[in-house]
């Protein structure tokens, strides 16, 4: 099948699937907490409901506040469309490698943080300031992961890394393991999940992401929530494609290959979503100034992954 068609399918797929992934995480968490929980399709209804409400904007807000939801959503969506999910045969794949991917997510963060400061309230500032702290720790860690993956696979393009892993390039590798651990820690931070941030918190002083979008309502809030959902799906797809890409369709694989790839992608995503729910239920949120320990640990794991590569080469 044509790379452009597959690309279009993926662009639609990531947005269509994202609310379900979030809904699934919430459902599993409720069950683990002993509640019945809402249907996994509830986020679709939430977003539709938000779209039907009028948007309220503070008097002091500028156009940045109104543009930010769309910029954030578009940046995350773009990032999610260049990562191989079910097939590596994507027309846009060469437009951005892992480094560009980090930067695309940085656009979303930059605008969300600015939007948080735009109204001129204390909570927005708290959120923006903490978000930038998390980013300044998480981004280097993520780039270290890219570094070690680029050393192992000889490329920074996710599509090519998938090809390398699928062709049996790596076995059970210490460096891959360390990179995976670092990547998981970064993903938790980037998505504002426990223990870094609690997406369900109702206590303003502990909010990070929620504090930045506190002033949003109506369609703007829908876009911000949507961006967060797509980002969660994106990181699951990214972890899946870098460390467990089995079943993914390659170029020239035919319709069967694509169906298998789609099934494998859905399976991977829901396994990871369930794992996330279990992990979040089992752990408590940490204090703001312990972020540095957590994410500094991720950075060191990333560095260690690189060093271990040298060691294994030398031995």
């Amino acid at each position: 099948m044509n790379a452009a068609v597959l690309q279009l399918v993926q662009i639609v797929l990531v947005v269509a699937l994202a609310p379900l992934v979030t809904g699934w995480v919430r459902l599993v968490k409720s069950r683990l907490n002993g509640r019945r929980g809402a249907s996994p399709f509830q986020p679709y209804r939430d977003i539709y409901r938000l779209l039907q409400k009028e948007a309220i904007v503070a008097h002091s807000a500028s156009w940045v506040f109104r543009a930010a939801p769309y910029v954030t959503f578009a940046a995350v969506w773009l990032a999610a469309s260049v990562i191989p999910t079910f097939s590596t045969d994507l027309a846009l794949a060469p437009a951005a490698d892992l480094i560009a991917l980090v930067a695309l997510l940085a656009i979303a963060r930059f605008w969300t943080a600015l939007a948080g400061m735009d109204v001129g309230t204390a909570f927005g500032g708290i959120g923006a300031s903490r978000e930038m702290l998390i980013a300044s720790l998480a981004e280097p860690a993520m780039l270290m992961v890219s570094f070690s993956l680029s050393l192992i696979a000889g490329t920074t393009a996710p599509v090519k890394i998938v090809g390398f892993v699928l062709s049996g390039g790596v076995g059970l590798d210490v460096s891959m393991g360390l990179a995976l651990a670092a990547m998981v820690m970064v993903s938790i931070a980037e998505n504002g999940r426990i223990p870094i941030d609690n997406p369900a918190t109702h206590l303003e002083l502990t909010m990070v992401h929620e504090a930045m979008v506190l002033e949003y309502s109506g369609r703007h809030l829908a876009m911000m929530e949507g961006a967060a959902m797509v980002r969660l799906t994106l990181f699951m797809a990214l972890i899946g494609c870098l460390f467990a890409p089995w079943g993914m369709a390659q170029a020239g694989g035919g319709v069967d290959g694509i169906l298998v790839g789609m099934g494998a992608f859905l399976a991977r995503t829901f396994v990871l979503a369930t794992a996330l729910a279990v992990f979040e239920t089992a752990i408590a949120k940490m204090r703001v100034f312990r972020y540095a320990d957590f994410l500094g640990g991720a950075l060191l794991l990333g560095l260690l992954a690189t060093i271990f590569l040298y060691v294994s080469e030398a031995v």
Partner: protein, 668 residues
């Protein structure tokens, strides 16, 4: 011809400013003249790069020292830096037409402004050490005079003193550097230096001296101390040039010596530069994120960006010496690209600060706020600059950082273990610097332009005159253009570095035009052009979908703020509160950041005070102790002033014997 005419115009303009400086209109004439001259030089540089890429016209003029004529030469490297310098020079001159009358004493600015441009361009075309140093000093002294323009403020006088000392130190290092390269033959033309083979010791000293000399001008840590003092002290359009461009002239000096004149620099120097660059980048941005004064913040961020460019240069040296010319070309292109980008967005940000100063008279973040609603053009242009310097795609800052990362990721292919282990660490430092830069500029933009005004001055701000707005918008457009069309830039840079490295840089070798795939298609690629187009489509699709599916009404209301709305703008987050988590996490060790809170007794209505103590490790550790050492030595030497004649005679005799001994021992 055009270039020569433009060169001649600049000193003439300076003279004109001296003669007619009393008339108010003369300042506009000078800036218009500078604008014309820099546009001519810009055109000259562009034509040279585009039209005759291989040619290097030379010119010999019969002045200078009696036995050395003045040699000039315009090769690709000079032409590229001429484009960098004169692009920002044109912007600063255009800005100056309107801004020049806002500085306290315009007559202290206009005579030196053309001379400053003259000096910077002179360094680029000089083809012998004498002309190079003369032009270098023109640049240093003219900018020193500009730093002193507002001489009534004590901190500006201190800044000028520190700057003069550091500039003197820089030239003091460059002088023996060129002397060593000329060798005992004493031929000071660059052509002779290119063929002159350096002995190992002399080669070592040349690299060390040029790193100290040009590095102090560029602002490499620990020689950066003058930069955040001097750059903010000058009027904003001059700050833009000092920060955006003069540091690039210093980089030009580094590249000219290390890649062209010296020729055989060992990979160890490349590794050292890479590490110095990484440390400079992180320390620079760490300082920047803690500043309250917008101009000081920008000056520190210049230190960071110079560090980033120097990482590229160091990598290029290491690759070149290890027989990897293609990778050396990539790293050098990345470094030059970053230099070009930084000159554009730093000029934009400094001129934007000039616009803020014009509108409010304030440059302290904690006195600003809400400017975007009052200055929409300046605000939008500044936002582009802030996003570009934070290395966000699709703007230009990201492309050069991406290229530097790509070349860093190739570092482990080098055979040296020092490089293998150094490269990941420098990569982490670079990533940290990029992330902190984003935090720094979210803070700067968010506090200055967003939120509610924190002072009456900010509340009453109005948009600046059309000339200033136009300048800012043109620079912002360049940031977008150079980021969205990276292949065009890398193609022309490839012509610049070919003579220095010896290979052409295959930018888009495997994938074709809009794709940047420097190390081959399988190693990773980027396309700003495609991302812009698809991103714009997605942005449009998101808006259309949302407006199609839902309601379009929008209501303005009071801020929600969880129900406790506070009208006092002081309740907003300030720059200091924004920086607090970063300060605690990153600055606790290097700057020994400490916070003290003084709470009034219960029942006391006095305000609580929160004070932050920071210690600048470089200033305290290096400069202050150096000053103490000099003082102590001076005290000791001072005793020699009060000796008897007999003792002086004895000392002269002893010196004579010593010198004779030296001569006798060294006699073959």
């Amino acid at each position: 011809m055009l270039i020569a005419a433009a060169f001649a115009t600049l000193p003439a303009l300076s003279l004109f400013a001296l003669l007619f400086g009393r008339r108010a209109w003369s300042h506009a004439v000078v800036y218009l003249g500078c604008l014309g001259a820099s546009l001519c030089l810009l055109a000259g540089g562009l034509v040279h790069l585009g039209g005759h890429p291989g040619a290097a016209p030379t010119l010999v003029l019969p002045f200078g020292l009696p036995w050395v004529e003045a040699h000039f030469r315009l090769d690709n490297l000079s032409a590229l830096f001429m484009v960098i310098v004169d692009l920002s020079a044109a912007a600063a001159s255009a800005f100056g037409i309107a801004y020049g009358s806002h500085v306290p004493e315009p007559r202290r600015v206009t005579p030196f402004f053309p001379l400053f441009l003259f000096g910077m361009n002179g360094v680029l075309v000089a083809d012998d050490a004498f002309m190079f140093l003369v032009a270098w000093e023109f640049m240093s002294l003219a900018s020193w005079a500009l730093v002193l323009a507002d001489h009534t403020r004590a901190e500006n006088r201190k800044a000028a003193m520190v700057y003069l000392t550091m500039a003197g130190f820089g030239t003091f290092c460059l002088l023996p550097c060129f002397g060593l390269m000329a060798g005992p033959g004493g031929d000071y033309t660059f052509a002779a230096m290119r063929v002159h083979e350096l002995a190992p010791t002399a080669g070592f000293l040349v690299v060390l001296l040029v790193l100290l000399g040009a590095g102090s001008k560029a602002g490499l840590v620990p020689l950066h101390a003058w930069l955040p003092l001097a750059h903010p002290a000058a009027p904003s359009h001059v700050s833009a040039l000092m920060s955006g461009v003069m540091t690039k002239v210093a980089l030009y000096g580094l590249i000219r010596v290390l890649f062209d004149l010296h020729g055989e620099v060992g990979w160890q120097w490349g590794a050292a530069m890479m590490v110095v660059g990484g440390v400079t980048a992180v320390l620079g941005v760490l300082y920047a994120v803690l500043q309250d004064d917008l101009k000081v913040l920008l000056a520190y961020s210049t230190v960071e960006n110079i560090g980033v460019a120097v990482i590229g240069l160091g990598l290029a040296l290491a690759f070149k010496d290890s027989g990897e010319p293609a990778l050396a070309a990539l790293a050098l292109v990345a470094g030059l690209y970053h230099a070009l980008n930084h000159s554009i967005f730093k000029s934009l940000l400094f001129l934007g600060t000039g616009a803020i100063l014009t509108a409010t008279g304030e440059k302290s973040l904690n006195a600003l706020g809400g400017l975007l609603n009052r200055m929409p053009w300046t605000g939008a242009a500044f936002l582009v600059g802030a996003a570009a310097i934070s290395a966000l795609p699709p703007l230009n800052g990201f492309v050069s950082e991406w290229l530097i990362f790509q070349s860093l990721f190739q570092g482990p292919s080098l055979p040296h273990w020092a490089m293998k282990f150094g490269v990941p660490v420098v990569g982490a430092l670079l990533a940290l610097a990029a992330a902190l830069a984003a935090a720094c500029f979210v803070r700067a933009y968010g506090v200055a332009f967003l939120g509610r005004p924190r002072s009456e001055a900010a509340r009453g701000a109005v948009e600046v005159p059309a000339v200033m707005r136009l300048t800012l918008v043109v620079l912002a457009a360049l940031c977008v253009l150079l980021g969205a069309m990276p292949v065009v830039v890398t193609d022309s840079l490839s012509g610049v570095i070919a003579p220095l490295i010896g290979v052409h840089f295959p930018v888009s070798a495997d994938l074709g035009w809009p794709w940047l795939s420097p190390v081959g298609a399988t190693r990773g690629s980027y396309s700003g052009t495609v991302l812009v187009m698809v991103g714009a489509l997605m942005f449009g699709a998101a808006i259309l979908a949302v407006h199609g599916l839902g309601v379009r009404t929008l209501r303005r209301a009071a801020a929600w703020d969880c129900g406790h709305v506070e009208d006092n703008p002081a309740s907003q987050y300030t720059g200091d509160s924004f920086a607090q988590p970063l300060r605690r996490v990153f600055a606790a060790t290097p700057f020994r950041a400490r916070e003290t809170v003084e709470m009034p007794e219960p029942g006391d209505l006095g305000p609580a005070r929160h004070t932050v103590h920071l210690i600048d490790p470089v200033w305290q550790g290096l400069y202050v102790s150096l000053g103490r050492l000099v003082d102590a030595i001076a005290d000791q030497v001072n005793r020699l002033q009060f000796l008897t004649v007999r003792r002086y005679l004895l000392m002269m005799f002893a010196t004579l014997v010593l010198l004779l001994l030296v001569v006798a021992v060294r006699q073959p």
